[in-house]
């Protein structure tokens, strides 16, 4: 291990637990607590990945989860960020998006062509001739993209959870810890999250050698641990902040959806790059990355480094590195005045050369860019422009960049905060925060650890006041003192275009100039055209510089230039965590288990599962026909529990139903059923069912299986609007419904009930209340399938009992269960339409031949006025029955096949059955009215150029005189 430092106080690695791992097939050793990047760096590996477009070698840059060029695959997992991937024993990682290996990537040739591939080049070529574009696109797709998915990869669903707290604090650095302690001591339920595996934030890298800071950190952590009402969650990312402080927290295991009464963001800042030639070479990194390497992982960032600085942090960094035996060759300070604080003096005392008013003009590398050999520094003139002719060469194997910061403000933006650029800190700071949202620390423009602690307390108190805690002394808002921590324009042109603004997407300075020249001159257009900020790190290291560049190009202020919209997620989050364990509530009838045992083919029907038929999957048609024949000849039993079942009671019940349905109910006799048809306000057929009157003020109503939920909801709404004295109860799930149908049904049923069910005592369309098999039941004589039959409604808990009793009693009659597909065939034979199957979202009653169901001279029902209008128009289509003459060897028509008249579409098949108990194929179709009279031929298009002839016939096909139902 060439670069591992001696043990550091507070280091995150455990030297007792060495780990073997592989990168690109080569074995290395690291420690528990390392991330892949730190372990590789410790082993002297400098090329950790390749860039997206030009395949340039890249190393550690931020070591803060923004190193989007050091992406690796581990087994089936890909696009993992090496700078936050915990090292595990026998980890086998390899870089993504390389051809060959990361150290010798054959695609690095792209870098040679970079001059031919300026920003947006792909919009300007490859599209002519048109036929070649697919070829080019295919090539481009292959070189684009990062990791490769494993199509075989599977993962058990992770559990998601909800959580609640008074105050969520994001970031356990100086401000966050101070805020947590202040709020915790007030008794607030606090959740404190930090994405790092250890709390402390900048205490753990920037202030590691500062005794007073360390002591404060210890104190704060002790208090946090001591207070039961502070829930500290490390390794937890607050990835998105949504309406009403709904925050998505991610850890290794799961996503937690947290509802916080208040949110305090103390997320800190991202250190920002400087833009100079070859600023992406491995070995060039942020000052904060160098300090993270040293203090968290005890890894030497480089042995001999140059610091490019523009703030006090750069000088602290220089002292810090020197203390660790790292040779700081020089500090180039962008500011002509340099640093006059004690931090500056200390560096001078250390004898480190300080070049004031200098920048790094370019970095020098060898071995195809993989090894940094030095930099050329040059002075800046008064305008801040480089003077390369006065450049001087500084040999080094590393550069630490410490020129400024940008707030980690994603959550605040998402939650609706507005920011303003403050030149005292040369940074965006929150200007207005929505209620319940608070910001503290560096994200708030407060830059020393002690001030951050105070700012954290201030924000915690403001939050407590917001949450209604009385008698709290507010702390006045601090302002930043001293020179700005950020440089206003750390961006330097170079004639050879490798001065990168966006490392993710390989966008260099000239690209911005070119985009601007083409008219992409506002921040959103710049983003879309150049793709700046659209890579995996979402612009954390590039957006601020892009804004600075654009502002200068437009000669505008930073505020006027604005920012792009910040959207979730803060860092990319896995689809599996987002999906989590899913709940898919399905509705089951009480007989569900029985059906399965009896060999039913179950199918989804809306939210329900229903038996289609009983029998083998490959005997569908035969099984359905056999079940149908059995109902026609003997007796069958079907579970129709999915029917909507509503109880409508109260003095105004009949009046209410008359307003909802098209028919009349005031004079309906008790113990009788009527057909009910309901439309929506536009006159479209919405629902149908039967309406049973059980008492003067008591109706029992059935509705379609699929529509009853929303229909019930609409009824509740109409009830309010009408202000009628009526109660509506949804009994759909409370009751089971069984339809016993067939010539023998009466004989079966009479064994089980004491109700007189003789034809005279209980006629067709009658309803009776009594018991069946000892269970309270409502019986209705309906004829949906066209045979003598009884719909038996019983409490759901008794359904199995009643069903089994019916089966048992029916055994001598050969009673068989039948499924919903069989029922569909039987009802088609009987000419009954199914709403939603034979009608569509624009069908009105006259089209479906349901005019008879509309009571004339009724003053009002829902949809009546619209129907009046629709009925003045000539009818455009009509639902008819048809039979097929002779299909010969032609393809058989299917539902939704078109009916043609020459080249004109004149209709559509809505239902069809090839095999029916009538022994010939039958169907229903919408056709133009001129074709609706019986005997009209229908040309059904069953395949391109092929039609089959049908003939319209009157409905129903079966038992037109209802003799079967007597």
């Amino acid at each position: 291990m060439t670069s591992r430092l001696p043990p550091q106080p507070g280091e995150w690695i455990n030297r007792e637990q060495p780990l073997d791992f592989q990168f690109e097939g080569v074995s290395y050793q690291g420690f528990t607590g390392d991330v892949l990047s730190s372990a590789l760096w410790a082993n002297g590996v400098r090329v950790l990945g390749r860039s997206f477009k030009y395949h340039r070698p890249r190393g550690i840059y931020s070591l803060a989860n923004h190193d989007a060029n050091a992406l690796v695959s581990v087994g089936s997992r890909t696009n993992l960020r090496a700078d936050c991937l915990p090292l595990e024993a026998n980890l086998q990682a390899s870089a993504v998006n390389t051809l060959g290996s990361v150290s010798r990537d054959h695609l690095a040739i792209m870098d040679r062509f970079s001059r031919f591939l300026p920003v947006g080049f792909y919009y300007k070529a490859f599209h002519t001739p048109r036929r070649l574009f697919p070829f080019y696109e295919n090539q481009m797709r292959k070189v684009a993209g990062l990791g490769r998915i494993d199509p075989q990869y599977r993962e058990a669903a992770t559990a998601k959870q909800y959580d609640f707290c008074d105050l969520l604090i994001v970031g356990a650095g100086p401000a966050g810890l101070s805020a947590a302690v202040d709020a915790g001591e007030r008794g607030l339920r606090v959740i404190l999250v930090d994405e790092n595996p250890h709390p402390g934030g900048s205490f753990t890298w920037q202030w590691r050698r500062h005794a007073e800071a360390l002591e404060r950190c210890e104190q704060l952590l002790n208090r946090v641990h001591a207070l039961d009402n502070i829930d500290l969650r490390v390794g937890t990312l607050a990835a998105g902040c949504y309406s009403d402080r709904w925050v998505a927290l991610f850890d290794q295991q799961r996503m937690t959806k947290l509802r916080a009464a208040a949110v305090l963001v103390a997320s800190g800042c991202f250190e920002q790059p400087a833009v100079f030639q070859n600023n992406d070479a491995p070995g060039i990194m942020l000052g904060s990355a160098a300090q993270r390497l040293v203090h968290r992982y005890a890894v030497q960032p480089f042995s001999q480094g140059v610091i490019l600085g523009a703030n006090r942090d750069a000088y602290r960094l220089a002292s810090d590195l020197t203390t660790h035996g790292i040779d700081v060759t020089a500090i180039c300070d962008l500011r002509p005045e340099g640093e006059s604080s004690p931090a500056g003096t200390r560096v001078q005392e250390l004898g480190i050369p300080i070049y004031r008013g200098y920048t790094i003009y370019q970095a020098e590398t060898r071995r195809r860019g993989t090894q940094l050999t030095g930099v050329i520094a040059c002075p800046l003139d008064r305008q801040g422009d480089t003077q390369p002719q006065a450049g001087l060469s500084l040999p080094c194997d590393g550069v630490a960049v410490s020129v400024g910061w940008a707030p980690d403000a994603g959550l605040l933006y998402q939650a609706g905060a507005r920011f303003q650029y403050q030149s005292a800190v040369e940074q965006f700071v929150p200007h207005t925060l929505p209620p319940g949202l608070f910001a503290a620390g560096r994200v708030n423009g407060i830059f020393s650890w002690a001030d951050q602690c105070i700012d954290g307390q201030r924000a915690a108190r403001a939050a407590a006041i917001h949450l209604g805690h009385p008698d709290i002394t507010e702390i006045p808002t601090l302002t930043h003192q001293g020179t700005p921590p950020s440089h206003p324009y750390p961006i330097f042109p170079h004639p050879e275009k490798h001065n990168f603004v966006d490392f993710d997407e390989d966008i260099h300075l000239a690209d911005f100039k070119n985009a601007h020249q083409e008219g992409y001159d506002n921040i959103e257009l710049v983003k879309r055209f150049t793709t700046v900020g659209m890579g995996p790190s979402q612009g954390k290291l590039s957006n601020m510089n892009a804004i600075r560049i654009l502002a200068r190009q437009n000669n505008a202020t930073i505020d006027a230039t604005g920012t792009t919209t910040s959207r979730p997620f803060q860092h990319p989050v896995p689809i599996g965590h987002l999906a989590g364990r899913r709940f898919h509530p399905l509705r089951r009838t009480p007989l569900d288990a029985w059906h399965r045992q009896a060999g039913a083919q179950m199918a989804h029907a809306g939210a329900w599962l229903r038996p289609e038929y009983y029998g083998a999957a490959d005997e569908r048609a035969q099984s359905i026909l056999a079940e149908a024949e059995h109902v026609r000849q003997r007796v069958g039993l079907i579970d129709v529990s999915t029917l909507g079942k509503l109880q409508v009671t109260g003095p105004d019940a009949a009046e209410f139903l008359e307003r909802i349905y098209t028919g009349r109910f005031q004079k309906q006799s008790t113990q009788r059923l009527r057909y009910g048809l309901a439309c929506d306000e536009t006159g479209t057929v919405l629902e149908d069912g039967v309406i049973a009157r059980l008492a003067h003020d008591h109706f029992y109503v059935t509705a379609t299986s699929g529509g009853s939920g929303s229909f019930y909801r609409e009824l509740l709404r109409w009830r309010q609007l009408f202000q009628l004295d009526v109660q509506i109860s949804n009994l759909t799930g409370q009751l089971a419904a069984l339809n016993l149908a067939g010539p023998d049904s009466r004989d079966v049923l009479k064994e089980l009930t004491c109700i007189d069910i003789s034809g005279e005592a209980f006629p067709y369309l009658g309803v009776r209340v009594g018991t069946v098999a000892g269970v309270p039941a409502t019986l209705m004589r309906v004829g949906f399938v066209g045979e003598l039959g009884y719909e038996i409604h019983v409490p759901a808990s008794s359904a199995v009992h009643v069903w089994e009793q019916l089966c048992e009693t029916g055994r001598p009659f050969g009673l068989k269960p039948f499924g919903v597909e069989t029922q569909r065939l039987l009802r088609l034979e009987k000419g009954h339409l199914i709403v939603g199957h034979d009608t569509d979202a624009l069908t009105y009653p006259a089209e479906a031949d349901l005019q008879w169901a509309i009571a004339q001279n009724k003053p009002f029902f829902v949809g009546s006025r619209s129907l009046e209008i629709l009925q003045k128009r000539p009818l455009m289509r009509k639902l008819v029955g048809f039979r097929l003459k002779d299909t010969e060897d032609k393809p058989f028509p299917e539902e939704c096949h078109l009916i043609l008249d020459g080249e004109t579409i004149v209709g559509r098949v809505t239902s069809i059955a090839r095999d029916s108990t009538l022994k010939h194929p039958i169907g229903m179709a919408f056709v133009e009215p001129r074709l609706a009279s019986p005997g009209s031929p229908l040309a059904i298009r069953t395949a391109p150029g092929t039609t089959v002839t049908g003939e319209v016939c009157s409905l129903p096909f079966y038992d037109p005189d209802n003799l079967r139902q007597q």
Partner: protein, 88 residues
């Protein structure tokens, strides 16, 4: 997830609710000619601003009215429908 306050059940995540569209006072069909009726049935107040809307708390079966700013997604108030409050 947004919080919506059901007048009966109190504040709940909006996922517990069904959106019932704009509140429209019942029309008198007799007062409108065909074209006006066609417009009244289909047209909506879709412009930005505060709108009265129907919302339904699914688990308890409660319809109520919410006054909501459809630009800010801010709920001004919620209350149960009464003809007095509804049709003014």
């Amino acid at each position: 997830m947004k919080i919506l306050t059901c007048p009966l059940n109190g504040p709940r995540p909006i996922q517990e609710f069904h959106y019932g569209g704009e509140f429209r006072p019942p029309l008198d069909p007799a007062q409108l000619n065909d074209a006006d009726w066609g417009q009244e049935v289909h047209h909506r107040h879709g412009e930005p601003g505060v709108k009265r809307e129907w919302w339904y708390h699914t688990a308890s079966g409660t319809w109520f009215i919410a006054e909501r700013d459809n630009l800010q997604d801010r709920v001004i108030q919620t209350y149960l429908y009464t003809p007095e409050r509804g049709n003014d």
